[in-house]
């Protein structure tokens, strides 16, 4: 969801390193995983058809793979976000009732 979200926020397609930087920045280093595991995750999303990958030029003119959210991916994000909110709401309600 986080990957989808980061792609959603950016108007431009992003490359893997960009996504990593973004995630690192907004989570303020809370999420600590092997950086490389981002790539299999991206492939999983590509297989499901939620992101689309294309090769392009990076900022300093190097070849890099850029990922873009597809309409199906956007729908999925909305769905997942809705689910997440519902769960969160439920948890909050339980926590506040005490």
């Amino acid at each position: 969801m986080l990957i989808l979200k980061s792609l959603d926020r950016s108007a431009e397609p992003m490359h893997g390193y960009g996504i990593y930087l973004y995630l690192k920045q907004i989570s303020q280093d809370v999420i600590q995983v092997e950086e490389g595991s981002l790539y299999p995750a991206l492939q999983r999303l590509a297989l499901k058809g939620w992101v689309k990958a294309e090769w392009g030029q990076s900022e300093n003119n190097r070849r890099a793979r850029f990922y873009k959210l597809t309409p199906a991916g956007r729908k999925q994000l909305k769905q997942e976000f809705a689910d997440f909110e519902r769960v969160l709401e439920a948890i909050m309600r339980v926590m506040q009732s005490t």
Binding site: H15, G16, Y17, Y20, E34, E35, G36, S37, Y39, P40, Q43, R44, L47, K48, G49, S58, R62, R63, A64, R65
Partner: protein, 902 residues
């Protein structure tokens, strides 16, 4: 659902860019790493440290690429493919092992497929019609003297009454069978088996035509429909005789001098209602009037039996139908069965019975061969099991020799299941190859096997083709065998423990496999029993075939012309036979010819009681003699010597004279000369006239029913008018072809309207009469050979793995000074111990087997020392050869090598 489909497409598309995929992943990751390193560099790390940290934080790149790839790939399929290719490589590396395993399984699976195909084709197959389970047949079942209670059906008139009365069936149909004369492709008149069903019969079965139409009630009327008699061809006959002519409908066919119009063809899968006896043509049942020369089948004077098949109403069981029949039975039998049609005892004890007809009407084949075939099926199933156990043992020995490889793979992270799966895949590859080979062998072998059951001339061939079910069973047995023989080695492979194994190669040693050990003697025992039986049976067969039969069996061709179907009767018919014989003897190549009632070597003969008349008075005691009616020239043609007097002449045509064979003459008249004395039959049923007859000759003894039995006391009469006039021609010539050609010429001249029937030689007839014996002998030879091979294989597998396990032990022995010869001896002793145990067990098994085959032995003791010694000797040789290979391997163990791995 749609999403999954799209995903599947993506996965498939992935395979086209597979090579690029890794490269792209790598490039992408490299980009990441470099960026990260740059960032680290800006953060003040040294270049080396920057790269190193980037790499460390990133994780295992190769693993990540692999993981990414796995997301796309069909995982299980890919692993299978990998395992499969690896298996092929491994198997190619040890071709002997591979070949042995495949051949063993092929033998096992092939034998099973062959027998099952036969069993299924002949007995287990339901009729290919609409809901066969609803079909039922009706029969009068009761004792018929002199034959087993064969199903004969019911009288035609009874059927008609029953069809009107009955409530259990939606409808009843009747089937009759007959032979008709039809010209073959070359214009030669031949006799064909035809089926004559009632007009509604195809409708009752629910058979649909392949071409045109089938018979309908409007075809089945007395005197035939106004357009003439219709005929429906079987698919096989249409294909063979008319080359599958699509324009066949409406063509004319001459059937026993009557013109019929071909109206349709039955579908290929429908082979008639008698399993194992395919029919060529279907004609309306009323066509019987043409064949038997009567105008009305319904008259009480006509005795025609038919076989009813009905379709039970929904919800009516066989028991209910039988109960209904029991109500009608007394009245029906009283009205329609008369003592001049059947035996009085039959009428008393007969019952009108309804039984299932889902497989058709049942046939003589079922009675005769169902049991032996079932027995054989069990036997080959056991053989398959043995094959599996042995191949399993063989594979087990490869597990031991490959355990190092497995340990390494496991240490490198292979999961247990993966190793187990690898072995199962290997087993599966072997099983599939074995099954394919076995099925192919069964496909060809079946024809040979079938020849023992059914006359090759009657094999339409179609009905024993392996079909879906056979294929299913074969594949199933392949899978089953995989599990059976592959499971144990696979499990062991999966249990390889990398730690202990890498440290020491003896970790698996020392454990004895008791089961494996017990198996070898059991197999040896089986081999002893089978090989000895095969030897005894083969010897018996050789002795029977070389036995003196009392006549010259070579070069005699026989054929039965069926002249009794001709209009000529009585003396005119006997004249016809004589004219044929005379003409045959004039034709080139025919040395002599004769007509006879019975021919020898058919497993049957006629007997009756006679009394000698000595000095005008009957002797007090009855003598049972075999008897035969033979034409002039019989003894000359058969080369049976006349010891005294003469043989029959052409004017002798009644039972006022007779020829006795030597043992009959000496039995009846003791020391006195038999010539000129009189013999009288006191068997009123066989010889109603009962007149005394004068002995005019004494012939040498000759065997009659079969070569197995010694020549019976026999009395010969001249051919006469009393026994229906269906005789057989015997022709002595250099070759069968000469006789056939001469016969065809004579027939064309003298009786052109007679169909040509099959020819056989007396030698063939004798071989046929030994059919069962030959089959059993062949089987015992095959199984004996197989058992021998299997026990060798079993021993080889056992010793190989034991040598592999004991490598270091043997190494130590050699290092401590054991002679290589002693090591060799040690392994061979082990083999001999197993052999001795097996032979001991085997002699018990042989005692039991001999009881079973005693009846088939001829001229040889069941404990013939030569055969027994030969068996044990053969077994010993095979076992020693099998043991020698692992023994040599043990002796060649290099102590330094063996101990270094310790």
């Amino acid at each position: 659902m749609v999403n999954q489909l799209i995903q599947l497409c993506r996965r498939i598309l992935f395979y086209f860019r597979r090579d690029r995929f890794d490269q792209e992943m790598e490039e992408e990751m490299k980009f990441h790493l470099e960026k990260k390193a740059e960032a680290n560099l800006t953060a003040g790390m040294s270049p080396d440290e920057a790269h190193y940290t980037a790499r460390r934080r990133f994780g295992n790149q190769t693993l990540l690429i692999e993981k990414s790839r796995e997301i796309w790939a069909f995982r299980s399929l890919e692993t299978f493919w990998q395992d499969f290719r690896y298996s092929l490589r491994m198997l190619r590396k040890s071709p002997i092992f591979f070949l042995t395993a495949v051949l063993t399984l092929a033998a096992g699976i092939g034998a099973n497929t062959a027998i099952f195909t036969l069993l299924h084709g002949l007995f287990l197959r339901e009729l290919p019609v609409l809901r066969p389970a609803e079909l039922a047949r009706i029969n009068l079942i009761g004792p018929i003297p002199g034959s087993e209670s064969a199903e004969r059906g019911i009288p035609w008139r009874m059927y008609q009454q029953l069809r009107l009365q009955q409530q259990s069936f939606t409808d009843l149909s009747a089937w009759a069978f007959a032979g008709v004369n039809i010209r073959d492709g070359e214009g030669v008149l031949r006799m064909y088996r035809v089926t004559l069903p009632t007009g509604n019969a195809f409708e009752v079965l629910g058979v649909k035509p392949y071409l045109g139409r089938l018979l309908t009630p409007s075809d089945d009327v007395r005197g035939g429909p106004s357009m003439g008699w219709p005929a429906v061809l079987s698919y096989g006959f249409w294909y063979e005789r008319f080359g599958g002519d699509p324009q066949i409908i409406g063509k004319r066919l001459e059937v026993s001098n009557t013109i019929a119009t071909i109206v349709g063809v039955t579908p290929p899968e429908f082979q008639g209602v008698l399993p194992g006896e395919s029919t060529k043509i279907y004609l309306p049942l009323q066509f019987l009037t043409v064949l038997i020369g009567k105008h009305n089948l319904d008259s009480p004077a006509v005795s025609v039996f038919c076989r009813p098949i009905g379709r039970l109403k929904p919800g009516i069981s066989l028991a209910q139908a039988n109960a209904e029949m029991a109500i009608y039975q007394p009245a029906l039998i009283r009205e329609f069965l008369s003592p001049d049609q059947v035996y009085p005892s039959f009428i008393e004890k007969t019952r009108l019975t309804v039984s299932s007809a889902s497989d058709g009407l049942g046939s003589f084949l079922v009675k005769k061969y169902l049991q032996p075939l079932l027995l054989m099926q069990c036997l080959v199933a056991v053989v398959l099991l043995l094959c599996c156990v042995n191949v399993g043992g063989l594979m087990m020995s490869t597990v031991y020799s490959r355990r190092h490889e497995f340990a390494v793979r496991m240490a490198m992270g292979a999961r247990r299941w993966r190793l187990t799966r690898q072995y199962l895949t290997e087993s599966f590859v072997i099983a599939i190859m074995g099954a394919t080979l076995g099925a192919a062998a069964a496909w060809y072998g079946n024809r040979l096997l079938l020849a023992f059951f059914i006359d090759p001339n009657d094999q339409e061939g179609l009905f024993v083709k392996p079909d879906k079910i056979v294929f299913l069973i074969t594949s199933l047995s392949a899978v089953l065998t995989t599990l059976l023989f592959g499971a144990a080695p696979a499990w062991h492979a999966g249990r390889s423990d990398p730690g202990t194994l890498l440290k020491s190669r003896t970790a698996l040693g020392g454990r004895k496999r008791l089961l494996g050990r017990a198996f070898v003697p059991i197999q040896v025992a089986l081999s002893v029993a089978l090989v000895a039986s095969a030897g005894l049976l083969s010897q018996s067969l050789i002795r029977i075939r070389s036995e003196q039969v009392g006549f010259d069996i070579g070069h005699i061709t026989i054929t039965c012309p069926q002249f009794h179907n001709l209009p000529q009767k009585g003396d005119a018919l006997l004249d016809l036979y004589q004219r044929m014989v005379d003409r045959l003897e004039q034709l080139p190549g025919i040395q002599s010819a004769a007509a006879t009632w019975y021919t020898p070597m058919t497993n049957s003969m006629a007997t009756a009681t006679f009394r000698a008349m000595i000095g005008g008075a009957d002797s007090p005691e009855d003598s049972r003699l075999a008897w035969n009616d033979v034409g002039p020239g019989y003894f000359r043609t058969m080369r049976i010597g006349i010891l005294a007097g003469r043989e029959f002449e052409r004017n002798e045509r009644d039972r006022s004279v007779c020829v006795l064979n030597e043992s009959a003459a000496s039995h009846l008249f003791h020391q006195q000369a038999a010539i000129g004395q009189y013999v009288r039959s006191n068997d009123p049923q066989r010889f109603p006239k009962g007149a005394a007859c004068r002995v005019i000759g004494v012939a040498q003894d000759a065997k009659y029913a079969s070569a197995r039995e010694k020549a019976p006391r026999t009395i010969y009469f001249p051919l006469n008018k009393e026994i229906g006039g269906n005789f057989v021609f015997l022709m002595r010539s250099d070759s069968e072809a000469t006789a056939t050609a001469a016969y065809r010429r004579a027939l064309a001249e003298i009786a052109p309207m007679t169909p040509l029937l099959r020819f056989a030689t007396l030698q063939q007839q004798m071989d046929d009469s030994l059919g069962q014996q030959r089959l059993i002998t062949l089987m015992s030879q095959l199984f004996g050979g197989l058992a021998l091979f299997l026990s060798a294989l079993g021993l080889y597998g056992l010793l190989s793995s034991s040598v592999a396990q004991r490598t270091s032990e043997i190494g130590i022995r050699i290092a401590l000074g054991a002679q290589r010869r002693a090591v060799l001896r040690m392994i061979l002793y082990e083999a001999l111990r197993l052999l001795a145990a097996g032979v001991l067990l085997g002699s018990i098994a042989l005692l039991l087997t001999v009881r079973l085959i005693q009846g088939l032995l001829y001229g040889i003791s069941p404990f013939d020392p030569v055969i027994l010694f030969a068996t044990v000797g053969l077994l010993g040789c095979v076992i020693l050869v099998a043991a020698f290979i692992p023994a040599l391997r043990a002796a060649a163990v290099d102590p330094i090598q063996a101990l270094r791995l310790e």
